[in-house]
Point group: C2
Chain length 562, copies 2
């Protein structure tokens, strides 16, 4: 059996290595357009930033390993330029020699990945404008950033432009994962960074109120944000510097521009071969990674996958799923029964000392799908026991099914202990856990690591209180005509009040029930919604109609734009 | 309804607070022997060590909160000295006034906790010998450690002993959680620390080979260990210093002694009232925290709980389960249907920059129970992607059911990312996950946080390889008469070899198959068992009988005493 794998890196390389382990006799050919069979593309921004110093560190699995250990016929700098499903052949062009050959396959695995989007904007090919996909891309950016003033001066002089200093102003186009990682790494190198993002939020997989916190954090760290504005074009001005012109008419000067608008599945080859491509633009595969054409499989960023929670087809360009898909394709080719279960979109971003992570469905997606059987909560637990030094507030948004309590998704932000909560919640979602299960979760507790009631427990307890009817909930932005009751201390209220709210501190509630209306819904406010929960319980049990405003003042700062 | 809760801290205080939230009208009396209704007992070692500077930090939930917000009648410095189930009354002694009263209850909740074991050894009441249970205990230890030479001198002079320096030598009796935390904190204060432990390992809930790594880590941090030796008694010598005499005849000089031998459920009151006590010595309760006597509940360290994995009755003195039990008792008293699901024994310890964590069943327990349907594996993944700076090796022992792959338990050690993997695995165990589920787990990946194949995925993939028959396994210590094949590089073998092993580096295996025996089992060795896995696959598919030695050289150092 001869298996040709098109594209290395995560999906293709995993497939090749796994296939050898499950089939010692197969002939495996790995065709990779670039110079490396596999490299750590998730590390590229950190290599550019200098955190990962050596380029060689990125070359995790070498061609030598693939040849010697996995006996894979590696064809780097070669590209598959055509597929003929009828003859089961591919056309391979060797970019080193220019030679074009035709080879037969018994099984073909496509792992072409997804290419950075480069819209056909005026000036997009000017020097100093880069995408971040490959090791050579990173090298080019590093060289551009490293060039001393003298070199630049020489080059600029010869090109007729005035001398330039070493690059110090960067514009990053796109506020997704790569864009934000690049922003951090460029700032780390001392550049002034501006992010231009077409959407009115960064990190599209986050819900907007969570993304707002990320935006504030970026700004606090000196990154300028131009949200809700799209690039119209690029120019080079008289002194050689770049200018990024936006549709709103703003001009952002730049010595370097990073295009991180997003990625698009590379499907030209697949389309030309007649493979079905889905509505999202990715190669359509079944749960065994088979495309619509017999004996052709596809894995990684180029394929559409089923969202584990919503069941929607989606594009999830992440390394973890790509690796698992590569393994599954290999197993299936070797005659085993392996199935991809879909993806939860679990992801994490480190950003100027903070961490942002998420898993499962977000509110935007559920709303878009017309799902009304979900509720959300905002929680602000400590990263570890408050009595042990260094505890930080976590921001946790939990989304769950109203009808049965099933956990649907979670988003978390903070300075410590963020991704471990999302990992536990990701495992919970995978296993179909409900918020009632989270209540009973037994996680690691010592004061420097967590709390006797971990944030993951709170992510169960608070929603369960809602579902059991113990804590009717309301959200900022949909308060209606309720009576606003603020149960914080007068000192806290003096610092930041809510217009129209009556202040009765929690310990004084029972003594002041007569002051509260019995004909209106009472909406209870505190800092993080814990004291408001206590107050709500008192009010409900005393016959009042009360609701807790989820997340209190802390979520207000997310949900009510200032 | 009048509910009397005996004992505050985790279980009792949680019960009181929860009960108020679900029953606004109940009369709730909280009787606590000590001065505080609730305090962070898990923080005591860190307060003694000075990490938590202020004693007030430990007083998380104050009496003021309980009175004002939860309208709980707090009786601190009061002790329940007798229970009469027939009359449904308790006898309460007020230690401040000496007054003894009798009060009726409708429901009684016992949360007496567990007391540090103080065996009746000669000299155990000498000054300078302390247990660590309460805030006053911590205060006494701090004062003892803080006393300057002059104060000591004065006191010693008046007592007829010679002048003493400030305490500088500590003996900790017991190598469990509290013992190790105390050892670290005393070392943090500059004391020389010796741990005397009766068992031949520290941290009894760990399997011995994992505990060996903890012991080495302690020794590397200057803590002396006297394992497998029990204290025979204590003496004060002529110059006033303490001596700890052991059964082996060793004498450990000490200026301070910490008794951390373990805890014993406080069941005197329960026994006197005729409540059933189990074989493990804890109050027996049902899954709704009811004792054997009507209207009496019990929660926390004093009760026996069902082990979630093995179904055995066990004593788990941990704050997390105590909190959950307190909530459940409150819910049941308020007429709700809540049930405790048992405990997994999830726990974590920070120790000189390292972390040790575990969840579920250990091998010792399964073996003791005669369970033969389990297998174990040792894994040594990176804490995060190896190409990003700062990755550390994790030691991960995974225990799973041979028949169906269900995850039974895990133990992990390392410097980074330890407890988050145990949290994910704890959630997996709670939800009944198999190693096949772990293979497909989708966790947070960015290079500073994890790997595209997270250690949790490896904890599924490697066992699944075993269960699918792809990787027959063998362990150091039970190698039998196999042919030892070391597939590491000659350089690695030169550094540390295995007697009798033949070295053929992995890339040379296929070319040297003729040198390998077809009539013997080939046991394959490498550093961490990854290359050995690749080699095992090659050998098996070439008709050899091969097994991978789990964990390779890295587990050898745990399993083969040097």
């Amino acid at each position: 059996m001869k298996v040709i794998i098109v594209g290395g890196v995560a999906g293709g390389a995993s497939c090749a290595a796994r296939l050898r382990r499950v089939d010692e006799k197969a002939e495996i050919v790995l065709v990779e357009r670039g110079p490396y069979v596999s490299y750590a593309n998730c590390g590229l921004p950190y290599h550019i930033g200098g955190v990962i110093e050596q380029e060689s560190s990125l070359l995790v699995a070498t061609e030598q390993l693939f040849r010697a250990v996995f006996t894979v016929d590696c064809r780097t700098r070669c590209e598959v330029t055509g597929i003929s499903p009828k003859t089961k052949t591919v056309e391979i062009k060797n970019h080193a020699t220019g030679e074009v050959t035709t080879e037969k396959y018994d099984k073909l695995v496509l792992s072409p990945g997804a290419a950075p989007i480069r819209p056909p904007l005026p000036g997009i090919d000017l020097p100093g404008i880069f995408s971040v996909r490959t090791v050579p891309d990173a090298k080019a950016i590093r060289e551009w950033l490293d060039r001393g003033a003298s070199e630049l001066a020489e080059e600029q002089a010869s090109s007729g432009f005035q001398a330039l200093d070493k690059p110090k102003r960067a514009v990053v186009v796109g506020g997704g994962y790569i864009g934000l990682e690049m922003a951090e790494n460029l700032a780390h190198r001392g550049l002034e960074v501006t992010i231009v993002e077409m959407l009115d939020q960064v990190m599209a997989p986050l819900d907007p109120e969570c993304a707002r916190l990320v935006a504030r954090h970026l700004e606090q760290n000196g990154v300028r944000l131009a949200l809700g504005d799209a690039v119209a074009g690029f120019r080079q001005n008289a002194n050689g510097a770049l200018e990024v012109h936006t549709k709103s008419g703003t001009v952002h000067p730049a010595d370097v521009v990073i295009l991180a608008i997003g990625v698009r599945p590379e499907t030209e080859l697949a389309k030309a071969a007649g493979l079905e491509v889905g509505q999202r633009g990715g190669i359509r595969v079944d749960e065994q990674m088979r495309t619509s054409v017999p004996d052709i499989f596809a894995v990684g960023d180029a394929v559409e996958v089923k969202d584990f929670v919503t069941g929607e087809w989606s594009l999830i360009p992440l390394a973890g799923p790509a690796n698992r898909q590569g393994r599954i394709a290999a197993d299936v080719i070797a005659g085993r029964d392996a199935r991809f279960r879909g993806t939860q979109g679990t992801s994490v971003l480190g950003l100027f000392g903070a961490t942002v992570a998420m898993t499962g469905a977000n509110e935007k997606a559920l709303t878009r799908l017309g799902d009304s059987d979900h509720e959300k909560m905002y929680l602000f637990p400590n990263s570890h026991a408050g009595y042990y030094p260094g505890a930080k507030t976590l921001v946790l948004k939990v989304i769950f099914r109203k009808s049965d309590g099933r956990l649907l998704g979670a988003q978390a932000l903070g300075r410590d202990g963020v991704e471990k909560r999302i990992d536990a919640l990701a495992m919970a979602i995978q296993m179909g856990a409900t918020v009632y299960d989270l209540e009973e979760a037994e996680l690691c507790y010592a004061p420097q690591f967590g709390s006797a009631k971990d944030p993951v427990n709170f992510a169960g307890m608070a929603p369960a209180d809602v579902l059991r009817g113990d804590m009717p909930l309301v959200h900022w932005g949909s308060l209606g005509n309720g009576f606003l009751l603020d149960v914080r201390s007068p000192q806290e209220v003096a610092t930041e009040g809510v217009p129209g709210a009556v202040n009765i501190p929690l310990p004084a509630i029972r003594a002041n029930l007569a002051k509260l209306p019995r004909d209106r819904e009472i909406l209870v406010i505190c800092r993080s919604a814990v004291r408001a929960y206590y107050a709500t319980r008192i009010l409900l049990q005393n016959g009042f109609n009360a609701r807790n405003i989820s997340g209190g003042m802390l979520s207000r700062s997310m949900l009510v734009p200032t």
